[in-house]
Symmetry: C2
């Protein structure tokens, strides 16, 4: 099996190294990852600017993996992979992550980790994004680690339809098992902090708190994460509200 791995924290982040160590057990691993952090890049693509990739020397931690860094976004990484290394034969699986931070709830639309999965899904390739709810660069992936290969095998067997991929999130600490969940409703609030620069100008830095609109619902990703479960959400690149199309005409 040919496995393509990327992330949005950049090559060398603890999360992607953890993921590669697991995936080399499952097949031939090729990594094409951003050369540095691309958090919050969603499905952004690089338009009208050169994109470069660079093959790294063999890594003694996983000598069988081919590792490239890329100057672009996570979406660029997958597009570049499909038009270079995988031009003749698509990978059998794309895995993205392990992200340092949650991609549950509305975060999925801002996520570079999931953006890469959506590009894979567009191209008919099974894709799974893994995230741990811990932004720390030294986050502890040890509880999530034993779930990675069994979940990957299980989800590959389910043969998701065209355009569907999986968004897997895990809470910090010991885990209670897994749950299939839906994306929790909620929005980010108080997202801009105002600053004054040395010249008296105003600038803003993005921040914020997540406001959960349905904290009591037990079928959401946020509920699962809050109760110690690994959350598995099947996501579609088809954003249409089909019931409203028929009503509209």
């Amino acid at each position: 099996m040919d496995i393509l791995i990327t992330n949005d924290d950049g090559w060398g982040a603890k999360g992607i190294v953890t993921l590669v160590k697991e995936m080399v057990v499952l097949g031939n691993v090729t990594v094409i990852a951003p050369e540095s952090a691309r958090s919050g890049q969603s499905n952004a693509i690089t338009v009208n600017m050169p994109i470069r990739m660079h093959r790294l020397p063999e890594d003694s931690r996983f000598p069988e993996a081919a590792i490239y860094t890329c100057t672009g976004t996570p979406s660029d990484c997958i597009k570049l992979a499909l038009n270079t290394v995988f031009r003749e034969r698509k990978p059998d699986l794309v895995v993205s992550g392990i992200n340092h931070g949650s991609n549950a709830a509305i975060n999925v639309i801002y996520s570079g980790t999931m953006g890469a999965c959506f590009v894979a899904a567009e191209n008919g390739i099974p894709a799974i994004g893994f995230s741990l709810c811990d932004h720390n660069p030294d986050a502890d992936f040890s509880f999530l680690k034993p779930y990675i290969l069994p979940l990957t095998r299980q989800l590959l067997q389910q043969k998701a339809p065209y355009g569907v991929c999986y968004n897997i999130n895990a809470p910090i600490g010991p885990l209670q098992g897994t749950r299939f969940t839906r994306q929790c409703r909620g929005n980010w609030v108080r997202e801009m902090r105002e600053y004054t620069d040395p010249n008296g100008g105003t600038f803003y830095l993005l921040t914020g708190e997540f406001s959960n609109h349905e904290p009591m619902a037990q079928d959401t990703d946020e509920w699962a994460l809050g109760h110690g479960y690994v959350s598995i959400t099947p996501d579609s690149i088809d954003m249409t509200v089909h019931s409203m199309v028929e009503l509209g005409n």
Copy 2:
């Protein structure tokens, strides 16, 4: 009615100027748009870097509109607006565009125009993205123009549920009317063109062709556009495949 307008081609693009000229008829217009082009920025947000906004002097073309430029992405523009100008009272409507280029089919996931609408939808604000299938900076918006206000009024009356917004695309030339459509299946192919730089290094520029997976289906956005109709697709920020959640557990 308070109307917030943004785009991804940047302030001054012909498309957003056309949109503002229409919207001032409908209510109080505030523009917070990127200071230059942010095409393909999807829902990207600016993380760990300052975001600045700058109020422009009164514009004689629409003296009643308040116009700001922003150094960030389209998503940043909406977040900044909601935390500054609209901190006390949300806008009644967000309109984005008119984009120079199609946001139909899979383009919706890469679109900064629609990214702005998704942020509005996250915040419970009605939102409409307008796009014309013409990348030309001097694109002719005259055929689409008479549709903008009637469509906006019609869609506002429909009171879309939380998290739903509208992706409106128009073909070039005379129009046959409107259709509610679903997102056409398809993927981009041959997306990277390889170049050699003066030092012998390789770089890539994004390009590609859209491969329509269902050219015969008559209910898609691509079909509508190919047959002279304005396409209206209701889009949800909930990416969950709900039927697969129940099957999974």
